[in-house]
Symmetry: C2
């Protein structure tokens, strides 16, 4: 094994990704616009706290927006049940059959199971994954994501596409910041380097800290969309 060169060898491994998905996604967005329904696509790595954040957010939207939730998961249904029980918000579970992401057609299959005339906002909780969901436009009006403190402030550099497609990045679990080598300013810088327009909102989903700002952003976005 030759260990004399200091440069690390980089091998580009490529495989074609079929993505005729964009037209579908644009079509779905146009339909949603006509119906006055806003679709938010919420993404994150596994264990970042998407469901807890969602519960806190739904509580803050009560009486302000009519909401439904689509929980995408590989094969459990615990999240939809949890959300329904905690908030009373109508939630359906989308089983992806092992698939690592949702595309526009899969999202449409979910929406077909909702009464869209009765909602202003549909929140799609995507599969816990920082890679594939970023590659497939679901037809959502806005994308948001969670990065949790234990994952590290370097993640925007390692999963650049995810951070560049998201309008809002929630930084979750800020309560445990003292126990991790996580620098909020450096994280924000890393995010903005990938996506200068990103809105960054530090939160603690467990206590609800910071979630007001996210809920307010959503209300504003939905109002703009319905205009």
């Amino acid at each position: 094994m030759n260990n004399t060169d200091n440069l690390v060898k980089i091998i580009e491994i490529k495989k074609s990704v079929f993505a005729e998905n964009e037209k579908d996604a644009d079509g779905l967005r146009a339909e949603l616009k006509k119906k006055g329904v806003f679709l938010l696509n919420l993404m994150s790595a596994p264990g970042s706290g998407k469901t807890t954040t969602l519960i806190q957010t739904l509580r803050r939207l009560k009486g302000r927006l009519r909401v439904a939730v689509m929980e995408a998961d590989i094969d459990s249904d615990v999240d939809a049940v949890k959300i329904r029980e905690a908030t009373g918000v109508y939630s359906i579970q989308l089983h992806t059959g092992g698939m690592c992401h949702l595309d526009a057609e899969m999202t449409r299959q979910g929406l077909d199971n909702l009464d869209l005339s009765a909602v202003d906002l549909v929140i799609l909780e995507n599969v816990g994954n920082l890679v594939c969901p970023a590659e497939f436009d679901t037809g959502a009006v806005r994308n948001a994501m969670l990065l949790s403190v234990p994952e590290g402030d370097d993640k925007p550099l390692k999963y650049p596409l995810m951070f560049s497609v998201c309008d809002t990045v929630l930084i979750n679990k800020i309560d445990v910041m003292p126990y991790f080598d996580f620098d909020l300013d450096r994280c924000r810088e890393n995010i903005l380097r990938r996506n200068p327009k990103a809105r960054v909102i530090p939160i603690c989903a467990k206590t609800g800290e910071g979630v007001d700002a996210f809920a307010d952003w959503l209300v504003e976005e939905v109002e703009n969309w319905k205009r």
Copy 2:
């Protein structure tokens, strides 16, 4: 929105996953056996501490095994550089071009860039993702994964395939257990429910606690393979 029914609606969304990969993987394993080279596939979610764990492990393998590392990443090369600098172990970076996993053919492309006559063990650090890498046999002799405490003890229930394909599950970041609602016994139970044969090793990659057991397991496995 009809909120009277208490049952959560489950919609099965399916898409075909082309996986003629298994033959390739078996072929690759047979070649490796002939060459006396052991391939370990290390997987986890983003931010679980794979690279830090790897560095601690490599230090413990020094003088016991001849090792090379393949770092798969979407488009950065920080991990291979970090490992080379911290341990002196020959590391190459595999760029997946946005792909969310490695299959056997992609793994072979990486191995083609190593001098296999000079190593006993190749460790492949797969893309940070709990979904797709579990679906694609890389041709590795053994699979191992990291679950970190902040991700939650319920992850084996939500990403069942990943836990069922792994021979060893490292539970990392046990030092922060007091700050999270994480029950080690419940986690172990959840893992064993998916995979009764799994070896579960709690570790703290930051301090090195528990990593000896992982290194010893690897040495034993490599010796068995080379027999």
